[in-house]
Structure formats: structure tokens, C-alpha cells
Amino acid sequence: MFFVSLVVSLILDVLLLGFHIVHYHFSFQYIPEFFALFGFFGCILLIFVAKGMGYFIVKDEDYYERESGSRG
């Protein structure tokens, strides 16, 4: 079911572009399957970059409590 919709949307994209039914503002939006690629890689990029950031900024749950506790 889900993969059917994936394939349908891919084919539909080419058809809509081919028959000039869709109208965009920027030239890069006319790249075939632009929005599919944007959605997929946007999602992946977001997760990986965030995980990379997490390497620096993710701490234990009681980070601030511990920090203020050590001050006494």
C-alpha cells in the first residue's frame, strides 16, 4: 500500500511536469522528483546532523541539577 503510493507519486510527478500542469517559482523546483528527493534527503540529513550535534550537547538527564549540586 505504502510502496504503491511511493511509485504512484513518482510517476505522477513526471507526468505533471511533462504536461505542464504544475507551476513553480524557482527553476530548481522543476527538477524531476525534486520534492521526493527533498523530503527523503531532508529527513535523513536532519537526523544525521542532529545526531552529530548530539555528540556535543546531549548530557545526562540531571545535568543541571548535578552541576548546581557540586557548587554546594
Binding site: F2, H25, R71
Partner: protein
């Protein structure tokens, strides 16, 4: 024609009456009645009972009160303030239903004053009234936080008030500089630029930016909203930030800086949301991200941009309250909203789940939900002014929003491929499918209905906007592109779903700088500054002690001091036996001190008095000439 009644004043004063009502059912009915009364006033205003509302940007001015040499204006009614007011009271009604089960009357009072002062701020026609209302608005959430009673909530409350005092002081400084420069206190569009001449406006903008939780000043929002009580946090999601957006629209629309800040914020908050483990903190990051759209819309400043910002603010109040209520349901029912402790709740709370999903689809901007009709306006405004980077940032934020609120949160909280929740959570659930209190479901239901209704029938929203809208959101292009994008986002999520699982961690945010700097500051005050102060203190006290000692008998004291100096000289030459003699003599003298005072004869006294008078005369003459 009758005099206009300020709905904010009605709700505020009405709020104070709540604890006085003895019977609980009447009390709750009255609590629900307050926003309805506000709504009734607004409808009468729209119908022209208090004078016709002129077309934008003209406005109807009422409730003028003289104050010093100025005239305060509590009621400036125009299309912009009316559209905000409508959504404020409608949202307040749904939130009140959600909050009915709260036992503490004072929480209701704080909430109603909060709503009332927010209405006061958007109807304020002058800067003093605006500032006054914003100040009340910064205090009432403090109580909503404090009423939760936990130590963490108290800490968050104090941080909240510190942030908002900072923004309040910035706004006040801006207002005073503006007043000094122009002599006018009217709240209108402000000039913009950098540098000395515009310092006041820069400060004012900074204040509004802090209030609207724009990056990098956004961290107070995720910090505090997730600590408030489940119903208290719902109120907080709606009013403070949206009122700040209103202020930005009035005062600083078209400032390009805002466009960039907004677009960056919309994406930045999502990175932090990926790492988040607490459901309510995740929703907080989505508030921040969605505010990015509004700030960007204000910064774009075209009619389309402003309309997009306003309509997004309004839709946002509705779907975000719904999201927060959904995440709050879990907190109310099982006592936690953390992903690593949840999962598999669907079987026990299916209605909450589906109502939450309506909010999730709305915030993502699915066609037929209200997020779609407002979000595409802002995005298209960026397209129309030919800003591809802004466009890509905003569109990318749409992807991330769907990833989190539409997929990550429901997956982790309700589904997580578990049929049953973990045993300790399961123990708190009844066997039925109806674990959520009914009043909460009704509040959520109304909001979910509004989400879908506005999404299907956008005209009702567009007709209220200040600029005329001839905008058709449902075009093949937009509906198709956004649907395709979401399908592929789902694919990406499904492949990486193990990565977005919740872990019991805490993610640092920009408030780290403030909190750590604050701690360093306290350390600095406690250690080096205190040491220095002690040093000074000790020396001053010694000096004072010496002067007291010296003044008892200056002549003898002078003698002792001279002896001491002489002793240092003698030590170089004298033998040790003689030294002991000298030292014991000095010790004797010290012991006798202050000893006998020298006697003054009458003649000497008169001479001294005359001498001092003579010196005084000389000083006096020198001063005169």
C-alpha cells in the same frame, strides 16, 4: 450606541471572582462563561454595535484615559487586533474545558489574568498600556509554573521571570527612547536601522524577539513550558509568543533581519527536536520552529507575508494547544511524557491518539488541515520575493515538522511497535479504552474540529485577515508537491526509525551559556569578590580601631608611636639586655595608656579657641574672595 466593554478587563476581573464562588459546579460554569462573555463582546464589536470597524489600517479608538500629559488608549480596535482577539478567546474556551479537572482555583485565576492581559496587549493603542499588559503577562505564567509545586518547576519559573524581565526592561528602554525622540506614545510602526539613532528601536526589537522566543533567545520556551502543570502549559503555548508576534507585526514588519532569523530558527529548532526525549519539550521545539515561520513572514513584510504570519499565528494557537494537550494526556494519565518510558499507549487511549494526530497533521501542513492553509502563504511569500534560500529553509522545516510531530512522537509515545506499554506504565492504566478524562477529550475535540474546519474552509480565516486575500491554497502544484514530500519523509523515517527512539538524556540548548555564565558569575561573587571584600573590610576595621585608640589621648599615643619607631632604630645597635629593658618600658607605657590626660590651663584653652576661630576666619575669607 453603547460604550465598548474591554473583553480583557471582563476576563481579568471575572477571574478574581472564581475563588469566591462556593459551589464547585457554579464555579466551573462561571470559569467557562468568561471566555464566552469575551467572545460575545467581540461578536457585538464585529457587528458594529460599538461603532463600525473602519477598514485596515484605520481603527476605532475607545477607552481613552488621561495619564500625566498623555492619553492612554486601552481600546484600539482594528482588523488585526480583532482577529487575534477572536482566536484568543476561542482558544481560552477550549483550554478552560481542558483545565476543568484542576482543583486549585488560583491556577484558574492566574490563567484568566493571563488571557485577559493578552487581550489587553493586543487592544493597546499606546506603548505604556502595552508595556503594562506585557508585564502582567510575564508574571502570570510564573504562577502557572509555580503551582505545579515541584522543585524543577520552581527553578523554571524563576528562569522564566528572569528572561521576561530582561525583555521587559529592553522594551521599556526602547519605549522611553522613542518617547524622548518623538514625544508620542502611540503604538505604531517603528523606524528601523542600526546604530545610535536607532538604539531604542533595536532594544525594543530585542525585547519582542526574546518574548517571541526567536533563536538564539528561544531556550526559555522549551525550558519552562515543559515544566508547567499539564493544563497550565496549554495556556502558555498560546499567548506570550503570539502577542509578541502581534507586536512585531505592528512595529517591525518588513525588517529583513527578522526574515533571516525566522527562517534559520524554523530549521534550527528541529535539530534539537530530533534529540529530545520528553514529549512536551519536543512540542516546545515545534512551537519555536513554527514561530520561525511567523517571524519570517513578518520580516518578508509584503501583504502576503504579513497575512501568512497572522494566519499562521492563529492556526498555530489552535493546533499547538491540541498537540500539547495530546502530549499532556499521557502526563496526566500515566505521569510521564518521556519517550523511553512510554510506548504502546494506543490501545488504552485511542481517542487521544487520533485527536493528537489531527494536530500533528495540521502542524505538518497536510492538505485539508489548518496548518496547510497558513503555512503555504508564508512559503509562497518567500517565493514571490524571489528568496530561494528562505524558501528552502522554510520548506525544509516542513519536512522536519512532519518527521517529529507526525511520526516520531506518535511512534514513540503511542505505538513504538509494542502492543502493550511497559509494565510500570501499564499498572497505571485502566483496562478500558477510555483512560483520558472526558473534559480533556472535549477540549481537544473542539480544537481538532477547528483544525479540520479551517483546513477545509479556509475562507473563514482569510476573510478575517487585515489585507484582502484572493488566495487559493489548494492548487495541484502545492497539494501534489507537499504530499509527495511527506510520502518520502515517511520513507526516510521508516528506514531510520531506530535512530529517533527516545533515550533518557537531556539536550543542552542556548540557555547553557546563560546558566553556566550565571553559575560562573555566582562563583566569582562568592569567591574572589568576597575575598577582596573581606580584605578591605578587615583593613578598614583595623584603621578605625587604631583611630579610636589614638583619639583617646593623642599626646600619649603619639609618644608611644615615636617610641616604637625609635625602638626599630635601637634594635640595630643595642645589646639584647638593653633591648628587653626598652621593650618592657614601652609595654608599661602601653598598659598605662590612655593614662593621665594633660591638664589645660584656662589661658591655653582660650588661646586654642581663638586660634581655631582665627583659622576659620581665614578659610571663610578665602572662600568668599
Amino acid at each position: 450606541m453603547i460604550e465598548w466593554i474591554h473583553p480583557g478587563v471582563v476576563i481579568c476581573l471575572g477571574g478574581f471572582l472564581i475563588p469566591l464562588i462556593k459551589w464547585r459546579s457554579i464555579k466551573l460554569a462561571f470559569f467557562l462563561l468568561l471566555p464566552i462573555a469575551g467572545l460575545a463582546i467581540l461578536i457585538l464589536t464585529s457587528m458594529g454595535h460599538f461603532g463600525p470597524i473602519p477598514s485596515w489600517p484605520e481603527s476605532l479608538h475607545t477607552w481613552r484615559i488621561p495619564f500625566l500629559q498623555w492619553s492612554l488608549e486601552l481600546g484600539r480596535i482594528n482588523k488585526l487586533s480583532m482577529v487575534f482577539a477572536y482566536i484568543y478567546v476561542i482558544a481560552a474556551f477550549c483550554m478552560n474545558i481542558y483545565a476543568l479537572r484542576v482543583k486549585n482555583d488560583w491556577e484558574h485565576v492566574a490563567a484568566m489574568i493571563y488571557v485577559g492581559s493578552a487581550l489587553g496587549a493586543i487592544f493597546a493603542g499606546d506603548l505604556f498600556t502595552l508595556f503594562f499588559c506585557l508585564e502582567i503577562m510575564s508574571w502570570t505564567p510564573f504562577f502557572l509554573l509555580a503551582f505545579r509545586g515541584t522543585k524543577k518547576a520552581m527553578g523554571a519559573a524563576v528562569r522564566y521571570i528572569l528572561w521576561h524581565h530582561f525583555s521587559g526592561v529592553c522594551i521599556l528602554a526602547g519605549i522611553l527612547m522613542h518617547l524622548h525622540k518623538t514625544g508620542s506614545i502611540e503604538f505604531v510602526h517603528m523606524p528601523w536601522g542600526w546604530g545610535g539613532d536607532y538604539l531604542g528601536y533595536n532594544l525594543m526589537l530585542l525585547g519582542f524577539i526574546v518574548n517571541s522566543a526567536t533563536t538564539p533567545f528561544h531556550s526559555w520556551l522549551s525550558d519552562t513550558y515543559s515544566e508547567a502543570s499539564p493544563s497550565g502549559s496549554i495556556y502558555m503555548t498560546a499567548y506570550t509568543t503570539k502577542t509578541a508576534i502581534y507586536c512585531l507585526i505592528v512595529a517591525f514588519s518588513g525588517v529583513e533581519l527578522l526574515m533571516w532569523m525566522g527562517a534559520i530558527q524554523a530549521v534550527f529548532a528541529l535539530f534539537l527536536a530530533v534529540l529530545e526525549n520528553d514529549g512536551r519539550r519536543l512540542c516546545s521545539y515545534h512551537i519555536i520552529s513554527q514561530i520561525g515561520y511567523m517571524v519570517a513572514g513578518v520580516g518578508i513584510g509584503t501583504e502576503m507575508g504579513i497575512n501568512g504570519a497572522i494566519s499562521h499565528a492563529l492556526c498555530h494557537i489552535i493546533y499547538n494547544a491540541l498537540l500539547y494537550m495530546g502530549a499532556g494526556c499521557a502526563l496526566v494519565v500515566v505521569g510521564t511524557a518521556k519517550f523511553n518510558e512510554l510506548g504502546g499507549l494506543y490501545k488504552y487511549m485511542p481517542i487521544s491518539f487520533w485527536l493528537y494526530m489531527v494536530g500533528g497533521f495540521s502542524i505538518s501542513g497536510f492538505p485539508l488541515f489548518n496548518g496547510f492553509i497558513s503555512k503555504v502563504m508564508t512559503i509562497e511569500a518567500a517565493e514571490l520575493i524571489r528568496r530561494p534560500i528562505i524558501y528552502l529553509l522554510l520548506e525544509g522545516a516542513t519536512v522536519g515538522t512532519f518527521l517529529h510531530t507526525g511520526l516520531k512522537l506518535p511512534w514513540n509515545m503511542w505505538l513504538q511497535s509494542r502492543d502493550e506499554p511497559p509494565p510500570n506504565i501499564r499498572a497505571k492504566l485502566k483496562d478500558s479504552a477510555l483512560n483520558t478524562p472526558i473534559s480533556m477529550l472535549i477540549g481537544m475535540g473542539i480544537l481538532a474540529f477547528l483544525c479540520i474546519f479551517m483546513g477545509v474552509y479556509p475562507k473563514i480565516l482569510y476573510d478575517m485577515l487585515p489585507f484582502r486575500v484572493e488566495y487559493v491554497p489548494y492548487t495541484t502544484t502545492r497539494v501534489f508537491s507537499i504530499t509527495q514530500m511527506f510520502i518520502f519523509t515517511f520513507l526516510g523515517f521508516w528506514l531510520l526509525r531506530e535512530l529517533v527512539r527516545g533515550y533518557p538524556t537531556y539536550t543542552l540548548d542556548t540557555d547553557w551559556f546563560v546558566r553556566i555564565a550565571g553559575k560562573r558569575m555566582i562563583w566569582f561573587c562568592e569567591k574572589p569578590v568576597m575575598a577582596f571584600a573581606n580584605f578591605i573590610d578587615r583593613n578598614v576595621m583595623n584603621m578605625a580601631g587604631f583611630l579610636v585608640w589614638f583619639s583617646r589621648n593623642p599626646v600619649a599615643a603619639l609618644g608611644i608611636k615615636t617610641e616604637e619607631v625609635k625602638l626599630i632604630g635601637k634594635r640595630l645597635f643595642a645589646s639584647s639586655g638593653r633591648m628587653d629593658e626598652y621593650e618592657s618600658a614601652l609595654e608599661d607605657e602601653r598598659r598605662r595608656y590612655p593614662g593621665e590626660f594633660p591638664r589645660l590651663t584656662l589661658g591655653t584653652s582660650v588661646f586654642l579657641i581663638l586660634l581655631s576661630l582665627f583659622l576659620y576666619l581665614i578659610v571663610y575669607l578665602l572662600m568668599v574672595f
